[in-house]
Each structure stands twice: as C-alpha cells, then as structure tokens.
Amino acid sequence: MRIGIDVGGTNTDVALVTGGSVLAAVKTSTQDDVTDGIMAALNELQQQHPFDPAAVKAVMIGTTHFINALVEHRRLAPTAAIRLGLPATAALPPLVDWPAPLAAALGGHGYLCHGGHEFDGRAISELDEDELKRTVEDIAARGARSIAITSVFSPVTAEFEQRAAEVVGAMLPDAAISLSHEIGRMGLLERENATIVNASLRELAVDIVDGLAAAIEGHGIAAPLYLSQNDGTLMDVDFARRYPVATFASGPTNSMRGAAYLSGLADCAVVDVGGTTSDIGIVQAGFPREATNDVSVAGVRTNFRMPDVLSLGIGGGSRVRPDGGTDGGPVVGPDSVGFRLGSEALVFGGPTMTATDVAVAAGRAEIGDPSRVAGMDRDLVGGVLAQIAAAVTDGVERMRVSAEPLPIVAVGGGSVLLPDRLDDGAALVRPDNFPVANAVGAAIAQVGGEVDRVFSIEPGRRSAVLDDAKQEAVDRAVRAGALPDTVRVVDVDEVPLAYLPGNATRIRVKAVGELFTAP
C-alpha cells in the first residue's frame, strides 16, 4: 500500500493506492503549515477508508513549496556562487541575467576563479586552491551559508567541482554545497542558474522535508518518504534536502502520469481541467513529453526538463460572458474567479456566471445549489459547452504528433466541463478517481537514472559508446533505489556538436524502474 500526496497552491490531494487500484482519495485545502496540512489530509483519508499505518510501504509527495518560495522570494538562504573558468567566462559573471530583486533576496554574491575544462577534457586553467581559499574567506565574511559551485564543462568532467567542494567543505563544514554537474545540463549560465536556485532553497528544503516527515510519522507511518521530481521519478528525502530544485514541475508531471495510470493507457493525450486553465500534455510510454525550449522560472533562465504543456484559459472558475463575443454569442475565460469560486459562482449564491454554473445547468455536475441556474438559457448552455469542446479539440490536435488515433484522458476537478466526445469524434476517457489524478501520479512514481554528457565517438565505436551510456543510466537508476529487473531505458537522444572533429556528440539517456520497497 502506498500513499500519494499532491500539495498544490489551492488543494492538497491524497490517494491511497495498492497493487493496481486506488482504495480511497480525498481533496482538502492546502494550509500554510505544511505539517498541519498533510496531517489533516491523512486524517480525512483514514476516516474515509481506515487503513493500518504499518501496512503503508511508501509515501510519495509532489509539492509546489519550492517553486513558490522562489517566485515569492521567501525564505531563501544567503547564497554565494563560485564559478571555475577563468580566464574564460569573465565577460558574464554569475547572476548576470537575474532579476535584481531576486539576486538581492539571496545575497547576490558571485565569484570567478580559475579552473574549468574544454569540451574534450583539457583544463582551461588549473584549479588555484589559494585563490579558492581567499574566496571562501570572503564568502564567510559576507555571511553566505549555501554555496553553488559551477565549473565550465563539468558535465564532461566534474573533477574541479569535486575538488573545490572539498576545499570549501574543509573551511566551512556547516555550509550547504551544490555542484552544477549534479543539477543541470550543458549550457553554463542555465546550469549555473539552476545550481544557484538550488543552493538558495537548501535551508527551506531541510525545513519542508522535516515537516513532511513529521506529518507522516505523526500519523504512525514508518514507511520511507519520497518526493516527486520534474520528470515523474522519485527522490528520497536525503536527495530532496540536497536537490530541492528537482521538484519544480512535479505538479503537471504527476497529473499526466496519474491519468495514464488510472486509464491504463501508456500512450495518450491528457487534458487536466483545473480552476483556471486546462493543461494539455502528451504521455509517451507512461512519461510526459518534454518541452524543448529553455524555461524561465521566476525570471531566471534555466534548462530544466519540464513537461510540454499547452495551457488554455478554460477552467471550472472561468468567467462566462453570455453576449461577450464579437458575434453576440457567449465567451468563456480567459479570466477566472479562481479560489473564490465558492463565493463568486451563481450556484454558490454569488454574482458571477462561471463555467461551473454552466456545467451544473447542463446536468453534468452537481455542485452548490442547482436551482439557482435551473432557468439558464438552453442556447447559452449549449453555446458555452460547444466553445469549450472546440477549444479543447483544437488544443489536443495541436499537441498530437501523428495522425494515428491517440486516446484522450480527461482528469482534474473541472473536467466535467468536457463532452464525452470531442468535435473530431475522438472519445474522452474518464477514469475513476479523475479529480485526484495528480496524487495518484505521485503514488505510482518510478525511480530514474540519467546521463547527459559530451562523448567523443571514434569511427565504428558509436554503438559501444551508446551501450556504455545506457548502462551508466541503468546503474544510476538502481543506485537511486530501482528494482534492477524492472529498469529499462526510456529515452536516448544524440546531438552531434557542430564544427568539432572527432565526432563529439552530446548523448542523453534516461532509464527508469519500479521503486524497490521492503516486503
């Protein structure tokens, strides 16, 4: 038995999952205190479906705490960034492209030191330990407690980052150290930014992870706790304390993976209708397709792997303007009453017509007081629902990658707005427990391992190099806690580097497997 928890900005969803089925699920309001919120949700779950805490083998949590802390500049640790690369890279020092208020919120200390490698593993310059020690003295004097270390081409060789970490660790044993090769990919500024963001969240991560662990323990659950990552795989609590940045996109990822699991469809389109938006994504072999562009988070450019999501401004709280269209017809969204649905919507006695009111009037949902919308004009109801269906049909069509029929799974509390068939005739699958697909997605998460490096491929050696990379990804998944027999390679991507002889090629491999849990 496993418990999956998704802590969103508005709702905390919890699902109790065993074998292939969902035993119980609850939706509660997110609370300011992380421990209290999880405790309340678990209590409600226990009431709905009494379970033996000792029978729970694992608890998986997806949380927006860390990304929200960054966006709101809250509780960020005083952070210093050390870059190893002089005399190269000096033109653009650390934090160069950060929004000034965010850089200021974490102290904004950037340092350039000698070190770094070329793409082929030659050193740009040797690490200068005396220079590094002087830098650490300055960092200590300025009160930074968390340190991000980034060396040029560390995805090719991490030697200098590791040696610098030893020097820093010996001088500042209490400092949290984040190394870029463990966090990001090729692309110095983006990887460095991700590492600095991670460093700034390290203190909060300890608090949040301890709070989550306390909530689980408080409920008598002794099972290990995991947090879900951007790519839909899990990290244990020790990893989460060190790499909080890896949780940033776990929300949409869990929702898509949960939809695939609940519907039994490993390849499908997922439409997740929430209060404000409908998020459409594509699941391939059980995992969300990833976005390819660089992603800005809180104004900081990074190269995190995020799921490719198309967001439409249609949700349960979307405002409906009966004659707002240019043709005099109704308009849905894109603005939403959001979390005020319970006071604003007509069915709750409020003054604003929302998409939820239309769904109730159409008999698709029983929410609030249906008599308040019983007299709604039938043409209006039909027009609004047709408009939503048309927008979602178009969105799914844009996300599809082939003309082959692709099943469409509808999840999220607002998915009652959707028809049973889209305009092109495609049937929507509505699995049981669709409102809590995100919590289910957390509960079923797997364990992954990844390789992303530049390899020099000699003639005739391509398949051997690829095999080595695949084996390394598999080994990493097993080290992260996957059952060896279940690990498989799910993604291989090769990009030859232009202009360089020796067939320098960037290879990315991802392997995943089932989490090993104690019997």
């Binding site: 690369g85 002089l86 005399p87 190269a88 890279t89 000096a90 033109a91 653009l92 160069v96 492209d97 770094g116 070329e118 793409f119 082929d120 030659r122 740009i124 040029v152 081409f153 090729m186 692309g187 110095l188 500024l189 594509i282 397709r289 390819t292 562009n293 450019r301 490719d308 198309l310 069509e397 844009r398 996300m399 599809r400 990658v401 082939s402 003309a403 092109d424 090769e494 990009v495 030859p496 580097l497 232009a498 202009y499 360089l500 002889p501 067939n503 320098a504 090629t505 960037r506």
Partner: protein
C-alpha cells in the same frame, strides 16, 4: 540612416538575429548579455553603409566555432578586442569601423560588443545577409575581397595571424585547426576592406532588419496577431522583399550526423490535420539548406528557411529541433546581390553539393496555397 543603439533594442535584435540565423549561427542570447554588460547605459553608433568614407578601414569581427561550446565556455571578454588590435598591428592601420560578417545568430552581437569596448562605430550591413556554416561563404568573398590576413584570439591573451593570400578555403581549414586548439571557439577578424569595397560587397542595413523583425515578432505576440504576417510586412519593404509561409505542422522525424565537423541531417514535418497527408522535408548543415514539400523544392539556399514555433513565432535552431514540435516553416527571399552567378557559386545549392538548381522562393511557391501575402 545612422543611429545610436542602446540596450533597449538588444531584445529585438536578438530575436531577429535568431530568425536570420536560419537555424544556425549560435544563440544570440549570450551575445545579447555580452553587449548589455559592456554597454551599460551608453549607446553604440550604428553607421549607415552609405555614410562610410570610401577610404575607411573596415574590420569584420566574429566568433567562430561550435555554438554548443559557445553556450558553455563563455568569453573572457578581452578576446574580441584583442583580435581587432592584432589585425590592426599586422596590417598597420587603425580601424575606422567594425562590421558583422553575418547578421544571423550570435555574430550580429560580437561587433556591438567590440564597439561597446572601444567606442568604434558599427556598420549597418553584413557579409551574409543571414548565417552560413563556412567562412568563405560571404558576399565579401563572392565579390573579390580576400579573407586574409585573418587574426584569431583566445581567452589567454594569445593571438594568431593566418595569411593564405587569395586562398580562402585554406584559410578556413587552418583557422578551424587553431580554433580546435583554443577549445572549439575563437574570436576572429578577417576580410578587412575599404569603405568603398564594403559598400560594393555588403548586404546593407541588416542590423536594422534584425531589429525590425524582432520587434515585429514581439508586437505580434503582444497583440495576438499572426507572427508570419507581421514578418512579411517588415520584409516587404526591404531588399529581401518576399516572405512565404511554406508549411505548418509537427516534426515527425529527425536524423542527424556529423560530417566533416558539421551537424548535417534532415527533419520531416507532417501536417496537423489528419485529412492532409502532405509533408515538408528540411535538409540542414548547421543552417537550413533546402525545404521540400512532397518531394518538390519550395525554398533553397541562399534564400532563408526559418522554423518558427507555431504558437509563439519564436525561431527554433537546428540543434533545438525535436520530435513532436509544432512549427511553421517560412521562406524569405534574399536580396538580388545574393542571387547573382558569383554569389550562387559561393553559397548557392552547388556550394553545398545539393544537386538542385537555385530558383527564388517567390517563383517556387508561385500559385501554391499557403502563400502569405503582406497585409496592407
């Protein structure tokens, strides 16, 4: 017309330069940050090519090497100026202005960085009117300017001079060797020339074009307008004149390999609609070279083939092409000076051994559906 350029314009130039990079040329984002840092609240003087003195000493400056290396090993900052000083010492003349060798990609920004550091003006023109993968693929070369002498600089303060007389191919070959030793990326100065030669051989006002294209994309997104129509309006009153929407669809297949140090390959785009089975095939060598719809060529070098994100209009590079992406492919005609016999010999289909004749994009797409006419 000459003007002063400040950091406010760099966002538009960066986006426009990515478009003119036709899939290659390196990410202008890093270039934009470099110029922003060097410039602060000052401005760079952008000289109209017609206002440059005949006997002015004009120095093209650029970055050469692998764009992927450029994303990781950023410049120290002194290299672009060091390379200018090295060529000045070798030639025995002081530069009056710098000029981009290519207006596409990061090389639109390197001369601005040099200008910000030295106070020199930048000429509003370039030698490619887009981006190309090889150094000799320039209008400068096509119209008789010699690439040599060439200077290269690395981050340790080292410089090298390569002088191969009139043999630009050999200069390129030697320069690539030096660039490798410098870590896969180098700053270079080459094709030095007089103001009169610049006016005779350069593609004019391409920095302005980049800024205008970038602004058009930004404003189209802000106003929820069709980005392709907005670009077509800009192109219509320049020497490029023609812009055609070639295809809109999803990437269903990508094949890449390294050949002679270049990233070569093909991408196939399938139509969104299930009823429409047509496909576009894109061939690239760092930059996009040929687009074919159902086996028929619809655009070929030196005309520009650009891949835009179907939703946002943001340009997508060849290295960024990924399975499943939704994209619009457009073709932009090159100015007449890039379509002459000499120009096509330097960078037309034959220079890439493509086995297809050059025909202008406006002829290849005449009468076909999906043609975007500029809206008034």
């Amino acid at each position: 017309m000459s003007f002063d350029l400040g950091v406010d314009s760099l966002g538009d130039l960066s986006r426009g330069a990515a478009l003119l990079g036709t899939g290659g040329g390196g990410d202008p984002h890093v270039g934009r940050l470099l110029v922003t840092q060097a410039l602060g609240d000052r401005t760079v003087r952008i000289l109209d090519p017609d206002e440059v003195a005949d006997d002015a000493f004009v120095v093209p400056v650029a970055q050469m090497g692998a764009p992927t290396v450029g994303m990781e090993k950023l410049p120290g900052g002194d290299e672009p100026v060091a390379v200018l000083r090295a060529i000045e010492r070798h030639v025995g003349r002081t530069a009056d202005a710098v000029i981009p060798v290519e207006c596409g990609g990061i090389n639109s920004m390197i001369p601005l960085f040099v200008a910000a550091r030295t106070g020199l003006p930048v000429i509003d023109a370039d030698g490619m009117g887009r981006a190309f993968p090889e150094l000799q693929m320039k209008t400068f070369a096509a119209y008789g300017i010699s690439g040599s002498p060439m200077a290269l600089a690395g981050e340790n303060g080292e410089t090298a001079i390569i002088d191969t007389g009139t043999d630009d191919k050999r200069m390129e070959w030697l320069a690539r060797g030096v660039t490798m030793r410098l870590g896969g990326i180098a700053h270079v100065a080459e094709f030095t020339m007089s103001g009169a030669d610049m006016r005779r051989t350069a593609i004019k006002r391409t920095l302005t074009l980049g800024i205008r294209l970038g602004a058009a994309l930004r404003e189209a997104r802000r106003d929820h307008r069709d980005p392709v129509a907005a670009l077509a309006e800009v192109v219509a009153d320049t020497e490029y004149r023609h812009l055609r929407a070639l295809f809109t669809g999803k990437i269903v297949d990508i094949e890449r390999r390294t050949e002679g140090g270049f990233a070569v390959g093909r991408a196939r785009f399938a139509s969104f609609g299930a009823a429409d089975t047509s496909e576009l095939e894109l061939t690239f060598q760092n930059e996009h070279l040929v687009a074919e719809v159902d086996g028929r060529v619809v655009c070929t070098v030196p005309d520009l083939i650009c891949v835009l994100d179907a939703e946002t209009g943001e340009p997508i590079t060849t290295e960024g092409l990924r399975y499943g992406q939704r994209a619009t492919v457009i073709g932009i005609g090159t100015p007449p000076v890039m379509r002459t016999e000499q120009a096509l010999a330097a960078f037309g289909p034959a220079a890439f051994r493509l086995g297809t004749e050059f025909r202008p994009v406006e002829e290849l797409t005449a009468g076909t559906a999906g043609t975007a006419a500029p809206t008034p």
